[in-house]
Protein backbone atom coordinates (compact mmCIF):
# COMPACT_ATOMS: atom_id res chain seq x y z
CA UNK A 1 0.00 0.00 0.00
CA UNK A 2 2.84 2.39 0.93
CA UNK A 3 4.49 1.73 -2.42
CA UNK A 4 1.29 2.49 -4.35
CA UNK A 5 0.79 5.77 -2.50
CA UNK A 6 4.44 6.65 -3.08
CA UNK A 7 4.13 5.84 -6.81
CA UNK A 8 1.00 8.00 -7.08
CA UNK A 9 2.71 10.93 -5.31
CA UNK A 10 5.74 10.54 -7.60
CA UNK A 11 3.49 10.49 -10.67
CA UNK A 12 1.68 13.65 -9.49
CA UNK A 13 5.02 15.43 -8.97
CA UNK A 14 6.21 14.45 -12.44
CA UNK A 15 2.92 15.43 -14.09
CA UNK A 16 3.33 18.82 -12.38
CA UNK A 17 6.85 18.92 -13.84
CA UNK A 18 5.40 18.32 -17.35
CA UNK A 19 2.87 21.14 -16.82
CA UNK A 20 5.57 23.49 -15.51
CA UNK A 21 7.79 22.60 -18.48
CA UNK A 22 4.87 23.39 -20.77
CA UNK A 23 4.42 26.79 -19.11
CA UNK A 24 8.08 27.51 -19.76
CA UNK A 25 7.51 26.68 -23.45
CA UNK A 26 9.84 23.72 -23.26
CA UNK A 27 7.66 21.67 -25.62
CA UNK A 28 7.95 24.36 -28.29
CA UNK A 29 11.70 24.35 -27.71
CA UNK A 30 11.76 20.55 -28.11
CA UNK A 31 9.77 20.86 -31.36
CA UNK A 32 12.06 23.50 -32.83
CA UNK A 33 15.23 21.63 -31.86
CA UNK A 34 13.91 18.31 -33.14
CA UNK A 35 12.80 19.83 -36.43
CA UNK A 36 16.36 20.41 -37.57
CA UNK A 37 18.32 17.58 -39.16
CA UNK A 38 20.97 16.80 -36.58
CA UNK A 39 24.11 16.04 -38.56
CA UNK A 40 26.28 15.46 -35.51
CA UNK A 41 23.74 12.84 -34.26
CA UNK A 42 24.40 10.99 -37.51
CA UNK A 43 28.14 11.39 -37.18
CA UNK A 44 28.35 13.88 -40.04
CA UNK A 45 29.64 17.40 -39.44
Amino acid sequence: MKRIIFAIILAIIFVASIIYGGKLDQFTEIESTGSVMCLSCMGIE
Binding site: I4, A7, L10, F14, A16, S40, C41
Partner: protein
Amino acid sequence: MKRIIQILATFIVNGYFPAIYKGGIYQGPMKRVCWPVLNCWGCPTAMYGCPAGGLQHFIGLQLIPWAVLGILGTVGAAVGRMACGWICPFGLFQDLLFKIRSFKMRMPVFFKFFKYAVLVIVAGLVVYKVGEPWFCKLCPDGLLIAGFPLVLFDKTGDLRALIGWHYYMKIGIFIFIILASITMKRFFCRSMCIIGAVYSVFNRFSFTKLRLNKDKCRECGSCQNVCPMDVPVYKQQNHIDCIRCLDCVYKCPSKALKYGI
Protein backbone atom coordinates in the same frame (compact mmCIF):
# COMPACT_ATOMS: atom_id res chain seq x y z
CA MET B 1 2.57 -10.26 -29.09
CA LYS B 2 5.51 -8.31 -27.67
CA ARG B 3 7.38 -8.51 -30.96
CA ILE B 4 4.37 -7.17 -32.90
CA ILE B 5 4.09 -4.20 -30.53
CA GLN B 6 7.84 -3.56 -30.80
CA ILE B 7 7.65 -3.57 -34.62
CA LEU B 8 4.54 -1.37 -34.65
CA ALA B 9 6.18 1.09 -32.23
CA THR B 10 9.28 1.24 -34.43
CA PHE B 11 7.16 2.21 -37.44
CA ILE B 12 5.02 4.66 -35.46
CA VAL B 13 7.99 6.52 -34.02
CA ASN B 14 9.84 6.50 -37.35
CA GLY B 15 6.76 6.95 -39.49
CA TYR B 16 7.65 9.92 -41.66
CA PHE B 17 8.28 7.87 -44.79
CA PRO B 18 8.24 10.80 -47.28
CA ALA B 19 11.68 11.68 -45.88
CA ILE B 20 13.08 8.57 -47.55
CA TYR B 21 12.22 9.65 -51.11
CA LYS B 22 11.69 13.41 -50.75
CA GLY B 23 14.46 14.18 -48.28
CA GLY B 24 14.02 16.63 -45.43
CA ILE B 25 12.84 15.89 -41.93
CA TYR B 26 9.48 15.70 -40.17
CA GLN B 27 8.55 19.13 -38.83
CA GLY B 28 5.26 19.11 -37.05
CA PRO B 29 3.47 19.21 -33.73
CA MET B 30 4.22 15.55 -32.92
CA LYS B 31 7.85 16.51 -32.39
CA ARG B 32 6.77 18.28 -29.20
CA VAL B 33 6.07 14.89 -27.66
CA CYS B 34 9.05 12.91 -26.43
CA TRP B 35 8.68 9.22 -27.24
CA PRO B 36 9.57 7.78 -23.84
CA VAL B 37 12.52 5.70 -25.10
CA LEU B 38 15.67 6.26 -27.11
CA ASN B 39 14.94 7.28 -30.71
CA CYS B 40 17.03 9.89 -32.48
CA TRP B 41 14.85 12.97 -33.04
CA GLY B 42 17.18 14.66 -35.50
CA CYS B 43 16.83 11.83 -37.97
CA PRO B 44 14.59 12.28 -41.06
CA THR B 45 11.86 9.70 -40.39
CA ALA B 46 11.53 10.44 -36.65
CA MET B 47 8.05 11.65 -35.74
CA TYR B 48 8.63 12.31 -32.04
CA GLY B 49 11.18 13.96 -29.80
CA CYS B 50 13.98 11.95 -28.19
CA PRO B 51 14.14 12.25 -24.39
CA ALA B 52 17.94 11.78 -24.42
CA GLY B 53 18.30 14.66 -26.89
CA GLY B 54 15.77 16.75 -24.96
CA LEU B 55 17.52 16.25 -21.64
CA GLN B 56 20.85 17.25 -23.11
CA HIS B 57 19.42 20.21 -24.98
CA PHE B 58 18.19 21.85 -21.79
CA ILE B 59 21.23 20.82 -19.73
CA GLY B 60 23.41 22.36 -22.46
CA LEU B 61 21.45 25.60 -22.07
CA GLN B 62 22.01 25.27 -18.31
CA LEU B 63 18.26 24.90 -17.71
CA ILE B 64 16.34 22.22 -15.83
CA PRO B 65 14.60 19.93 -18.36
CA TRP B 66 11.24 19.99 -16.54
CA ALA B 67 9.14 18.65 -19.39
CA VAL B 68 11.43 15.75 -20.33
CA LEU B 69 12.05 14.77 -16.70
CA GLY B 70 8.30 14.93 -16.16
CA ILE B 71 7.62 12.55 -19.07
CA LEU B 72 10.30 10.07 -17.99
CA GLY B 73 9.29 10.30 -14.34
CA THR B 74 5.58 9.79 -15.01
CA VAL B 75 6.20 6.73 -17.19
CA GLY B 76 8.76 5.42 -14.67
CA ALA B 77 6.46 5.91 -11.68
CA ALA B 78 3.64 4.14 -13.52
CA VAL B 79 5.36 1.14 -15.10
CA GLY B 80 9.09 1.35 -14.29
CA ARG B 81 11.26 0.33 -17.21
CA MET B 82 8.44 -1.26 -19.21
CA ALA B 83 8.78 1.16 -22.14
CA CYS B 84 12.25 -0.28 -22.84
CA GLY B 85 10.78 -3.74 -23.26
CA TRP B 86 7.81 -2.91 -25.46
CA ILE B 87 8.28 0.26 -27.50
CA CYS B 88 12.02 0.87 -27.90
CA PRO B 89 13.20 0.47 -31.52
CA PHE B 90 16.83 0.09 -30.49
CA GLY B 91 15.81 -2.55 -27.96
CA LEU B 92 14.09 -4.48 -30.76
CA PHE B 93 17.25 -4.17 -32.86
CA GLN B 94 19.31 -5.72 -30.05
CA ASP B 95 16.74 -8.47 -29.41
CA LEU B 96 17.02 -9.46 -33.07
CA LEU B 97 20.82 -9.31 -33.00
CA PHE B 98 20.92 -11.69 -30.05
CA LYS B 99 18.94 -14.23 -32.10
CA ILE B 100 21.95 -14.64 -34.42
CA ARG B 101 23.57 -18.00 -33.72
CA SER B 102 26.99 -17.41 -32.25
CA PHE B 103 29.08 -17.71 -29.12
CA LYS B 104 27.04 -16.33 -26.17
CA MET B 105 28.23 -15.01 -22.83
CA ARG B 106 26.93 -13.20 -19.73
CA MET B 107 27.71 -9.50 -19.44
CA PRO B 108 30.25 -8.76 -16.67
CA VAL B 109 28.39 -7.25 -13.69
CA PHE B 110 30.38 -4.00 -13.53
CA PHE B 111 29.09 -2.97 -16.98
CA LYS B 112 25.59 -2.45 -15.58
CA PHE B 113 26.82 0.50 -13.51
CA PHE B 114 28.47 2.07 -16.54
CA LYS B 115 25.14 3.55 -17.76
CA TYR B 116 24.91 5.72 -14.64
CA ALA B 117 28.39 7.09 -15.31
CA VAL B 118 27.35 7.80 -18.93
CA LEU B 119 24.20 9.57 -17.67
CA VAL B 120 25.99 11.73 -15.11
CA ILE B 121 29.27 12.43 -16.93
CA VAL B 122 28.60 12.25 -20.71
CA ALA B 123 24.96 13.43 -20.78
CA GLY B 124 25.24 15.66 -17.70
CA LEU B 125 28.51 17.26 -16.69
CA VAL B 126 30.14 17.35 -20.13
CA VAL B 127 26.99 18.72 -21.79
CA TYR B 128 26.57 21.34 -19.04
CA LYS B 129 30.18 22.42 -19.49
CA VAL B 130 30.51 22.45 -23.32
CA GLY B 131 26.85 23.00 -24.31
CA GLU B 132 26.83 20.22 -26.90
CA PRO B 133 24.90 16.92 -26.76
CA TRP B 134 27.83 14.54 -26.38
CA PHE B 135 25.72 11.46 -25.75
CA CYS B 136 24.02 12.06 -29.13
CA LYS B 137 27.42 12.43 -30.76
CA LEU B 138 28.30 8.92 -29.55
CA CYS B 139 24.83 7.31 -29.72
CA PRO B 140 24.64 4.44 -32.25
CA ASP B 141 20.91 4.97 -32.92
CA GLY B 142 21.46 8.14 -34.98
CA LEU B 143 23.94 6.31 -37.17
CA LEU B 144 21.62 3.34 -37.65
CA ILE B 145 18.41 5.16 -38.57
CA ALA B 146 19.90 8.14 -40.38
CA GLY B 147 23.67 8.22 -40.77
CA PHE B 148 23.86 5.01 -42.83
CA PRO B 149 20.78 5.41 -45.06
CA LEU B 150 21.34 9.10 -45.76
CA VAL B 151 24.95 8.62 -46.76
CA LEU B 152 24.10 5.52 -48.78
CA PHE B 153 21.35 7.26 -50.79
CA ASP B 154 23.04 10.65 -50.98
CA LYS B 155 22.47 11.60 -54.64
CA THR B 156 24.32 14.92 -54.57
CA GLY B 157 27.32 13.70 -52.60
CA ASP B 158 27.07 16.70 -50.25
CA LEU B 159 26.72 14.54 -47.16
CA ARG B 160 29.45 12.15 -48.21
CA ALA B 161 31.79 15.11 -48.51
CA LEU B 162 31.19 15.92 -44.84
CA ILE B 163 32.21 12.49 -43.56
CA GLY B 164 35.17 12.63 -41.23
CA TRP B 165 36.65 11.21 -38.03
CA HIS B 166 33.33 11.56 -36.18
CA TYR B 167 31.51 9.29 -38.64
CA TYR B 168 34.23 6.65 -38.44
CA MET B 169 34.28 6.88 -34.63
CA LYS B 170 30.52 6.30 -34.60
CA ILE B 171 30.93 3.33 -36.93
CA GLY B 172 33.51 1.93 -34.50
CA ILE B 173 31.12 2.31 -31.54
CA PHE B 174 28.28 0.86 -33.62
CA ILE B 175 30.29 -2.22 -34.63
CA PHE B 176 31.35 -2.76 -31.01
CA ILE B 177 27.72 -2.57 -29.86
CA ILE B 178 26.57 -4.94 -32.62
CA LEU B 179 29.21 -7.53 -31.70
CA ALA B 180 28.46 -7.14 -28.00
CA SER B 181 24.69 -7.43 -28.63
CA ILE B 182 25.14 -10.61 -30.66
CA THR B 183 27.04 -12.26 -27.81
CA MET B 184 25.36 -10.61 -24.78
CA LYS B 185 21.67 -9.88 -24.17
CA ARG B 186 20.75 -6.20 -24.80
CA PHE B 187 24.28 -4.95 -24.13
CA PHE B 188 23.54 -1.29 -24.94
CA CYS B 189 20.38 -1.14 -22.78
CA ARG B 190 22.15 -2.68 -19.81
CA SER B 191 25.40 -0.80 -19.97
CA MET B 192 25.05 2.48 -21.86
CA CYS B 193 21.48 3.68 -22.29
CA ILE B 194 20.83 6.85 -20.30
CA ILE B 195 17.05 6.53 -20.61
CA GLY B 196 17.28 3.02 -19.18
CA ALA B 197 19.43 4.42 -16.37
CA VAL B 198 16.71 6.95 -15.48
CA TYR B 199 13.90 4.38 -15.63
CA SER B 200 15.84 1.77 -13.64
CA VAL B 201 15.60 3.97 -10.54
CA PHE B 202 11.80 3.64 -10.64
CA ASN B 203 11.59 -0.15 -10.90
CA ARG B 204 11.39 -0.65 -7.14
CA PHE B 205 8.76 2.03 -6.52
CA SER B 206 6.59 1.90 -9.63
CA PHE B 207 2.83 1.53 -9.48
CA THR B 208 2.97 -1.86 -11.21
CA LYS B 209 5.50 -4.58 -10.46
CA LEU B 210 6.35 -8.25 -10.76
CA ARG B 211 5.44 -10.63 -7.94
CA LEU B 212 6.74 -14.11 -7.24
CA ASN B 213 4.77 -16.86 -5.56
CA LYS B 214 7.58 -18.50 -3.62
CA ASP B 215 5.54 -21.61 -2.93
CA LYS B 216 5.17 -22.30 -6.64
CA CYS B 217 8.72 -21.30 -7.69
CA ARG B 218 11.12 -24.22 -8.23
CA GLU B 219 14.12 -21.95 -8.95
CA CYS B 220 14.58 -23.70 -12.28
CA GLY B 221 16.07 -20.55 -13.83
CA SER B 222 13.85 -20.56 -16.94
CA CYS B 223 12.87 -16.94 -16.16
CA GLN B 224 16.51 -15.86 -16.41
CA ASN B 225 17.02 -17.89 -19.58
CA VAL B 226 14.12 -16.21 -21.40
CA CYS B 227 14.80 -12.74 -19.95
CA PRO B 228 16.18 -10.37 -22.63
CA MET B 229 18.09 -8.55 -19.90
CA ASP B 230 19.42 -11.72 -18.26
CA VAL B 231 17.79 -10.86 -14.92
CA PRO B 232 17.58 -13.72 -12.36
CA VAL B 233 13.87 -12.99 -11.80
CA TYR B 234 13.43 -15.81 -9.28
CA LYS B 235 15.94 -14.02 -7.02
CA GLN B 236 15.00 -10.39 -7.69
CA GLN B 237 11.65 -9.55 -9.25
CA ASN B 238 12.07 -5.80 -9.66
CA HIS B 239 15.73 -5.65 -10.53
CA ILE B 240 17.07 -2.34 -11.96
CA ASP B 241 17.50 -4.01 -15.34
CA CYS B 242 14.00 -5.56 -15.52
CA ILE B 243 12.22 -4.13 -18.57
CA ARG B 244 8.84 -5.72 -17.72
CA CYS B 245 8.61 -7.45 -21.09
CA LEU B 246 6.76 -10.22 -19.22
CA ASP B 247 8.51 -13.04 -21.08
CA CYS B 248 9.25 -14.61 -17.69
CA VAL B 249 5.59 -14.40 -16.65
CA TYR B 250 4.38 -16.19 -19.79
CA LYS B 251 7.18 -18.77 -19.90
CA CYS B 252 7.45 -19.71 -16.22
CA PRO B 253 6.66 -23.47 -16.19
CA SER B 254 5.10 -23.30 -12.71
CA LYS B 255 3.24 -20.00 -13.31
CA ALA B 256 4.89 -18.53 -10.23
CA LEU B 257 5.23 -14.98 -11.58
CA LYS B 258 2.50 -12.36 -11.84
CA TYR B 259 2.54 -8.77 -13.02
CA GLY B 260 0.20 -6.22 -11.52
CA ILE B 261 -0.33 -3.50 -8.91
